[in-house]
């Protein structure tokens, strides 16, 4: 039997797809696929470092997509969940997909398939939540700025939505957990990393990077939020289910509740 090896990649999605390419191409008996900063050598496997190659990554992407559009988005979304060991799960998933006759009809009662679908669904749910919960604050240099702290790495997924919607204003959404952001400069969206002096979550104290009017609008929004509940119908449990507490920090309407 061929000995098994562990593939080490750079942590990027393209890197991961390159690893998949190599695994298939060289018919490697894959023991694991790990990010380079967190690799632990398996006792019985050799390691092989993968150099990210966009061409190869693209071939894998197209290969999966030609089987099923649904599958490629499942793979991408599940990957962004950053779940430990997700690479190996996805590898198995892709193997199953490629050997299936028709990728559109994957078997949902299969464990791996349902696991990947579940992960993808979680990420997709947070993507939608972030499209809803980002709160921009207008800075003095005319940028609508927002900090977020999502569970999963969803910035690449929400970029298009914000680009399509806020086409006539500069905006910047910054993930404080992963320390990078996306910035729209009225022309295109670019990745940025910032040296943030302070993280702008909800504070009663005002920061002078923002327009004075900014706080007026936050107050109006807060008032509006408060005026929407109908007292005789209050239901805190349902409220938290829709808007989990961990997101409140960045929601100006929850300023007083935090």
């Amino acid at each position: 039997m061929k000995s098994s090896s562990t593939l080490i990649y750079d942590g990027s999605f393209n890197g991961f797809l390159t690893a998949i390419f190599i695994a298939f191409d060289e018919k490697i008996n894959v023991a694991d696929i790990q990010k380079n900063n967190q690799c632990q050598n398996g006792l019985f496997s050799e390691t092989e470092t993968v150099f990210t190659n966009v061409e190869k990554a693209k071939r894998v992407w197209n290969g999966i997509r030609s089987k099923s559009h649904n599958a490629i988005s499942n793979v991408y979304f599940a990957f962004l969940s950053e779940t430990e060991g997700v690479e190996l799960i996805l590898y198995t998933y892709i193997q199953k997909l490629m050997s299936s006759k028709n990728g559109k009809h994957l078997d949902y009662s299969d464990n791996i398939v349902s696991h990947v679908t579940q992960l993808a669904r979680k990420v997709s749910k947070e993507k939608h939540r972030m499209e809803a919960f980002v709160r921009f604050q207008l800075t003095k240099d005319d940028v609508y700025f927002a900090n977020i702290e999502p569970d999963y790495d969803i910035l690449p997924l929400i970029s298009k939505h914000f680009r399509n919607r806020y086409a006539d204003q500069q905006w910047l959404i910054y993930d404080v957990k992963r320390k990078y952001g996306i910035y729209y400069n009225l022309d295109h969206v670019e990745l940025v990393s910032l040296n943030l002096q302070e993280i702008h979550f909800n504070k009663i104290r005002k920061s002078d990077v923002f327009e004075a009017e900014e706080y007026d609008y936050q107050t109006l929004w807060n008032d509006y939020f408060k005026s929407t509940h109908i007292k005789s119908r209050i239901n805190p449990k349902l409220h938290r289910q829709h808007m989990p507490k961990r997101y409140w920090k960045y929601l100006s309407e929850k300023k007083e509740a935090v």
């Binding site: 009809h105 078997d107 949902y108 009662s109 349902s114 939608h128 499209e131 809803a132 919960f133 980002v134 709160r135 921009f136 604050q137 207008l138 609508y144 927002a146 939505h161 399509n164 919607r165 806020y166 086409a167 006539d168 204003q169 009017e213 007026d216 609008y217 107050t219 109006l220 929004w221 008032d223 509006y224 939020f225 005026s227 929407t228 509940h229 109908i230 005789s232 119908r233 209050i234 239901n235 805190p236 349902l238 409220h239 289910q241 829709h242 808007m243 929601l251 309407e253």
Partner: protein, 420 residues
């Protein structure tokens, strides 16, 4: 911006608007135009949630809460002693734009008390929408209230700028309307609805010929009915909902449990329970009619004029029609799968896909999210175990109730016991 003044107005005019439950921002697909501001996403986004768990997606305000009418169920009625205010057109425009740019909202839902006369009021609502579209290049969602009695010309214009238009029926029976809103005529409600419906149809057919035909109310019309204010039955409500869906091609009918706002012998007293469970059952029925292929008379008829509060309407129907069951999930047609209690439309799709690969057993179904505690009495699958006892409807209902912890059971046990 005169912040203090705006703040005061917003507080009054948002508070008065909150009893309108329809806040959906879905169903429109206005794209961003010329790198302007905003777009309407087909699904609609809930940017926040009220403390009673409802979606906040629109800035929902009245243009004014001055009103010349005196509808008994409404906080804005003429005889009610409340603070009055009125926004200027530009003030609503500014609020909408600034909220939108901060990603607070999907757009605007503008309604109004009737000031002077219906046309005078409708004209101002239209002016706000027009300004947003033409001066601000705003492509977000706009929902305007059609004011009962407004002229055809204004309704025509409204549809050019708004994504959705709605007239609230409020009271589902004509006799109830006479009693509670004596100044309003049934025809006044129907007139603007009919105009908008006809325009939607006209624009749609023109669009087929000329691609560049502008949009006209792309998210259609909706309406709302108050539940529990005029002693109506569930059958009254759902038959009239079915009529509005059909006659005016409504996208949605909303049902709003009456929140007591007046001491008035014609209405439930202040402090009485909001009939939330009933409201929920009506929504469930609405779904069964729109997505599950049920006809309204199967669920409500003169033998059963009211919905069962203990169990959902689908289960209730199944219990009355045991002769259709058990259904074999591995062979049944889609329409019949959809009628099994505990199996939602999503599970139906999953079952159809998965059963191509293998015969499904209890485990598979559980994984797909089927509520087996209800479904198991009504189906068989690839297993030797299934409900063989010859149970009657009451027995089944009792056993299901014992094992279920419905959302509303504990919270509303007081209300429930009324019906037991």
């Amino acid at each position: 911006m005169n912040f203090q003044r705006i703040r005061e107005k917003l507080n009054i005019l948002a508070d008065a608007a909150k009893y309108d439950v329809s806040c959906a921002s879905s169903g429109s697909d206005r794209a961003n135009k010329d790198n302007g501001l905003g777009n309407a996403s087909r699904m609609g986004i809930c940017h926040s949630y009220t403390e009673d768990g409802r979606c906040i997606s629109l800035l929902k305000v009245l243009l004014t809460n001055h009103c010349i009418y005196d509808c008994a169920y409404c906080v804005t009625r003429k005889s009610n002693d409340v603070k009055r205010a009125a926004f200027k057109i530009q003030e609503v425009v500014d609020l909408t734009i600034n909220f939108y740019r901060r990603n607070y909202i999907e757009g605007l839902f503008l309604s109004s008390g009737i000031f002077k006369n219906p046309d005078y009021t409708m004209e101002r609502l239209v002016a706000v929408a027009k300004k947003l579209r033409e001066e601000e290049n705003f492509n977000g969602y706009i929902h305007l209230k059609s004011i009962p009695g407004a002229s055809d010309e204004l309704m025509y214009e409204a549809g050019l700028y708004a994504d959705r238009l709605s007239v609230n029926i409020e009271v589902p029976t004509i006799s109830g309307l006479k009693l509670l809103a004596p100044d309003k005529k049934h025809e006044d409600f129907k007139k603007p609805m009919l105009k908008v419906k006809n325009e939607i149809i006209r624009y749609r057919s023109e669009r087929k010929v000329i691609k560049s035909t502008p949009k006209y109310a792309p998210a259609g019309q909706s309406t709302q009915m108050i539940v529990g204010a005029s002693g109506e039955t569930d059958m009254d409500i759902m038959y009239s909902a079915t009529y509005y869906y059909r006659a005016y091609q409504m996208r949605r009918v909303y049902y709003s449990g009456y929140v007591p706002v007046a001491d008035d012998a014609r209405l439930p007293a202040i402090g009485s329970q909001v009939p939330m469970l009933r409201e929920n059952r009506l929504y469930q029925t609405d779904w069964l009619l729109r997505f599950y292929g049920f006809a309204v008379k199967e669920i409500l008829n003169s033998d059963h004029p009211n919905l069962d509060m203990d169990v959902d309407p689908k289960l209730s129907w199944a219990l009355r029609n045991l002769h259709h069951f058990p259904v074999n999930v591995n062979t049944a047609e889609k329409a019949m799968l959809a009628r099994i209690p505990g199996i939602g439309m999503q599970s139906v799709e999953k079952i159809l896909k998965a059963r191509r690969f293998r015969k499904l057993n209890w485990d598979h179904l559980k994984k797909m999210g089927v509520a087996l505690n209800r479904a198991k009495y009504f189906m068989v699958c690839d297993s030797r175990y299934w409900e063989r006892r010859d149970l009657d409807a009451d027995k089944i209902k009792g056993m299901i109730l014992q094992t279920s912890s419905g959302k509303y059971r504990n919270k509303f046990s007081a209300q429930l016991s009324l019906f037991n």
